[in-house]
């Protein structure tokens, strides 16, 4: 049984991961939801024991109520996050008129290029000849003279 449960978790996880590798934003989100499902199933599977519903009157051995509470919390949290991601996907679509990750990557690179030109290159020193250093700071006699006459 543990093997079957583990396999189910693994298949859901793998399907989710596969979808997360897609270019389509929507599929990506579906992948995330699937991985969330896999995690939730695993929490339930991690139950210390399985039996009747833990509702009074209790006669037989009940199922582990703690994992149930944990699963509930986890389900709700992953739902909230998924809903948020959906809304974000909508805004991404509004911003790019696309749900294709490739276009987003393109936009990111364009942005990086813009940044690069804005921020300038690092300037590594290439000229090792230092024989004229120390000469250039005072500009010239005429200039110095001008300073005097003022």
């Amino acid at each position: 049984m543990t093997l079957i449960l583990s396999l189910a978790v693994a298949i859901l996880f793998a399907s989710g991961a596969y979808l997360m590798l897609k270019h389509d934003l929507v599929r990506l989100i579906v992948g995330m939801v699937l991985i969330g499902n896999a995690a939730n199933l695993f929490i339930m599977a991690a139950a210390l024991r399985i039996g009747d519903a833990p509702v009074y009157p209790i006669e037989d051995e009940t199922s582990d109520p703690l994992v149930q509470a944990m699963t509930l919390t986890a389900i709700v949290i992953s739902f909230a996050v998924s809903a948020l991601v959906l809304a974000l996907a909508y805004r991404v679509y509004i911003a790019h008129a696309s749900v294709d990750m490739r276009e987003l990557s393109l936009a990111e690179e364009e942005q990086a290029d813009i940044d690069d030109t804005l921020d300038g290159e690092p300037e590594p020193m290439l000229d090792v000849d230092d024989s004229s250093i120390g000469e250039s700071s005072p500009v010239g006699a005429a200039d110095a003279g001008e300073a005097k006459t003022r």
Binding site: A46, T62, L66, F79, L88, A141
Partner: protein, 774 residues
Amino acid sequence: MTWVNDPNPALVVLIVALLAPLVTVILGFWDTRNTAGAAVATTAAAFAAAVWGAWNGDASYSVVWSETWGIRFEIHLDGLASMYAVLATGIGLLIAVYASGYMPLHRHHTGKRRADDVRFFGFLLLFMAAMVGLVMSQDLILLFVFWDLTAIASYFLIGYDSEEEESRTAALMALLVTGVSAVGVLVGALLLWSEYRTFSLPLLFQSAEPSTTVTWAVSLILVGALAKSAQFPLHFWLPRAMAAPTPVSAYLHSAAMVAAGVFLIGRIYPLVSLDTRVLDALIVIGGASMVVGGLVALTRDVFKQVLAYSTISQYGYVVVMFGIGGEYGVAGATFYVIAHAIAKSALFMTAGAVTEATGSARLADVGGLWRRMPWLAVGSAMASAGLMALPFTIGFFKDELFFAGADGRGQLIQWFAVAGATLSFAYIARFWAGIFLGPRQGDVQPVPASLVIPVGVLGALTVLGGIWVEPFRWLAEQAARVSFGEELEINLAYHLDTRTENLMALSVYGLGAVVLLTGRWWHQPVERLVKIGNRIGPARGYALALYGMNRLSDSIHDFEVRDLRSRIATILIPSGALVLLAVIYSPTQDTFRFTSIESGDLPLLLMLGVAAASGVMVVIPQDHLRMALTLSGVGFSLAVVYALLGAPDVALVAVLIETIFTVVFIGILVLIPRPILRYERNLRAPRIRLGRDAIIAFIAGSVAFVVVWSALSRPSASTTVIGRHIEQSPLAHGYDVVTVILADFRGFDTMGEITVIAIAFVGILSLMRAGRLR
């Protein structure tokens, strides 16, 4: 107020020095015209304090700085500290006077504002204060702090004209060489700590014994010291630093930055002298610097370049003397620093004044100026004579001590000493004569007196030291005693006899004159040699390293993953590798177990199959709407699984959540036009990519599988709290244990959960109301 009645000289010197930059900056901010005056006044005060402190002598102050690390704020105004403090503040004072005349001219050339003066004097005085603090530090960490403070100050001073690329590269180079090598000082200090559990120098001197660790520690500290003193092969930053305004160069070369390096050697000399191999290394490095610096100085045309290389060469002497060691070596090294500081700063100021007067900074463009600038000529002549070690200057004694020390170390060192001294005789003479003698060249404008007076003062001091050497001798003697660690006496006098020192001095004058007069024969070859050195020398190495690092950085950036799917893959694949590693590493026996499947489990089995199958179905390329529905299929079948696992609460919520999620999902899908959704679907991905995706997904699945299976294979924990949960539910007025856990036992989780919902709500509202947040 015993503190006021009986002040601690060490603290007074440090505080007055630290106040100098502070007061100057505050007054400068108030009114920028105050800056130069404030700088002169505060340095004068610092100088007075230093002289007073040196006179009162031997005061220390110590307070715990950090208990946890055992660091103390421990300062001691001993002989060594007094000497360097007097030098740093005294020359600092003259530099401040000089700068008050020089900076207006500099401002004019570079178009800077008066407000920039505050920055200049602030960092200049910070430099001085850091020097004063450095020389008094007795705790290695405190010493490191002041050590880096000098590096910071010099960085901003060298990069003062930051609009010039030359200044920027020079500042970066100085920072990289001195800052990175300072890490050596730190590591050395920590090494000594690991051996002796203290950072305190006096304690270390007491307990240190020759050992590999100590040798390593000392060598690392010396790397920092030698880099700061611009010793070969880390000397190349110093000539570049000439891009700074002249007062900075003058200070850097005489009493501050470069002097800090040899100071440190003197400070830890009791540790240095534990291993003769270290001393020999000092001789080699110092000797190399003497030769390289001297040869390049002979070929340079720009004033400040000649002087810069001469400094490298002359600090080479000091290092060699420390390497020679013994009474003469240490005494000579210490005395040399005084003599050199006084004379060299005068020459730098001369260079600045001449450049301001003529507008030219090259020996080739000036000449015969002694008539036009007689005071400057006289002042710098005295200083040059000092560096050339002519009699009746303080410089004569410095070579005298050098030769005496070399005498004890055999013929080779002796020849070497003469050769080095000859070089220095020659390049200094070439410098002075090139400016003031020969055919008249260059148009001279009058310069402010403040550019000439400091030169005169320093020149006078040089000669005074040659006639009445006692004050200088006393200072050096006190200092050398500290370095040497035992009693030591410096005897300085003129002897009219044929002792070796005198003969060596005479041969230096003769050889020096020959070198000067034969210039036209050796100039070309030496210049070629220097060019070759440039091409393969350490400066080249530095430039290539920097360039290479930038190129390397660029090229590995090209490999940086740029799209989301690869970013996800780069999390999944390494996780797979790590899990695999963990599987290999850990014992596999009993890790994975099968448990039997009972007939009652068949419905569960079936539903798990359905859930997994619909999970796979979602992956198959399809319409988005159908995908959403298949996805909810996964959710609903999982809900049934939960119900079969005896969890009706979870099943109920799972169904509800799945429903509302599907509503939201479809609600969003509807908002996105169909062509845009279809666009992606119609693009067929290449088969290879699909295969690769499948492999990555397989890895991800395997990670999950291995971890999950190994965890589930553990027999369920025997001690658990769920029994208590079930028992206590009625106490909490509840009969559905899960609900009681959610609202009571673990209600805090639910609290967090609804907070997450509320935050998601806030986020969704602000995202969906396009354009404006809420």
